[in-house]
């Protein structure tokens, strides 16, 4: 897909908007803590495809928007998104060649470390939560990665004006 075609830009914006809506949409109580890190997943995908520097700035900005939505300290989610994207950028070439399950493992590690970054202010404030509860989003997101990846790839190929990548 051409990087600067209007279709591409639209897809980037729409996918990010959808991930933001999913990030705040209410989920049934049984799932409780297992909310996937939609924004991180979508940003990770675009980090594969888009030029690196741009992905970083995009991740930072979207992280800030997420901070506004979540009411967390300004810059906290930005830091988290930056971390995820830079991890993808460093291993872009190799990641592309991994089978899906290995990619998932990679993202599991990245998300778990990222979650520690996200949760230390809460921990400082004295919130009581089990470690598993905090790590569940990381696990679920890592499992969702192959689907997000293939879905976005599919939409990218189907959008008008795209050439086979």
């Amino acid at each position: 897909m051409s990087r600067t075609s209007p279709g591409a830009i639209l897809l980037v914006l729409v996918s990010l908007a959808v991930s933001l809506v999913l990030a705040v949409a209410p989920i049934p109580e049984i799932l409780g803590n297992a909310r996937p890190l939609w924004l991180a997943l979508v940003l990770a995908y675009w980090a594969f495809v888009l030029p690196g520097g741009f992905s970083l700035v995009l991740a930072w900005l979207c992280g800030l928007v997420l901070d506004v939505l979540y009411g967390s300290v300004f810059g906290l989610n930005a830091l988290f998104c930056l971390f995820v994207v830079v991890a993808v950028l460093q291993f872009r070439q190799r990641l592309r060649m991994f089978p899906y399950w290995q990619q998932s493992v990679f993202f599991l590690v990245v998300f778990v470390v990222g979650q520690f970054v996200l949760f230390w202010p809460g921990w400082l404030a004295g919130e009581q939560a089990r470690l598993l509860d905090r790590m569940l989003p990381a696990l679920v997101s890592a499992l969702l990665w192959p689907w997000v990846y293939t879905l976005l790839q599919l939409i990218g190929r189907l959008s008008p004006g795209s050439a086979a990548r």
């Binding site: 809506v21 705040v24 939560a129």
Partner: protein, 308 residues
Amino acid sequence: MRRVLTIKSIFYKGSPFALRFMVLVVLSVALMVVDANTSWLRSLRSAAGIVMTPVYWAGDLPVRFYVDLTQILGSRTEIITENEKLRAEALQMQRQLQKLALLTEQNLRLRELLNSSGQLEEQVVVAELLGVDPAPQAQRLLINRGERHGVYVGQPVLDARGVMGQVVEVMPFSARVLLITDATHSLPVQVHRNGLRTLVNGTGHPDQMELRYVTDIADIKEGDLLVTSGMGQRFPAGYPVATVTEIKRATGQPFANVRAVPVAALNRSRYFLLVFSEDRIPEQEQAPLELPDEPVVDEEEAQVHEQD
């Protein structure tokens, strides 16, 4: 063999993103420090908060759709019985209201007799739930009333049964409410039975709160109702907060371990009351709390004598 992700491998020489990454990280940390310690960014966040309403609204669509659908498809008999039940409840409440009016009048007269200062009327605004804060440990909500409706930071929020929390952030058309069950929230209360004053803290868990500063010998029992004491000038006095569920006294420990369950339906309420106290001005950042010399007096209280 996969390479372990070390700090060095992120910044090996020649990495084209290293500089940009460092700059953005430093910027993020700077923002975090500034936002956590000063209020310079508050107005920026408040303005940016205008993006919240559409996003939360979009997220709420499936829930709203489902609720509407069940209503449309609900059987006629179900709706009729519910209607009757609600009518009966409304009738009950009107009767209680009448009684309340009588009691208030009596209370006013008694106060006059005792020459005590007048009660302040509390105005109330109804708000609806816009969304719940997605982080499960952070007990916070979004409501659909904001700065344009006169909502201010520190304003108490109640539901039909009791105290819910207070407003901590105000956007033009929405506001963020910190619930009393959040780990960072502490509420001055008193035991309804005997007036014993203490503090109740949230734990991050929606159904559990704790009283940390109750001595071993304090007169408090399981089942006691805790109401707001009005200390701290933030929450008006007398509203139900929680019920004590468990008291563990260990000899040798300075404080007993007391747990309580909130009275308000924190997880289920969709409608809330925002209380405006007349002597409170909308929160200003640096101004100290000014206690007025003369409380704003309602017409009914024109005859009240005032003691300083």
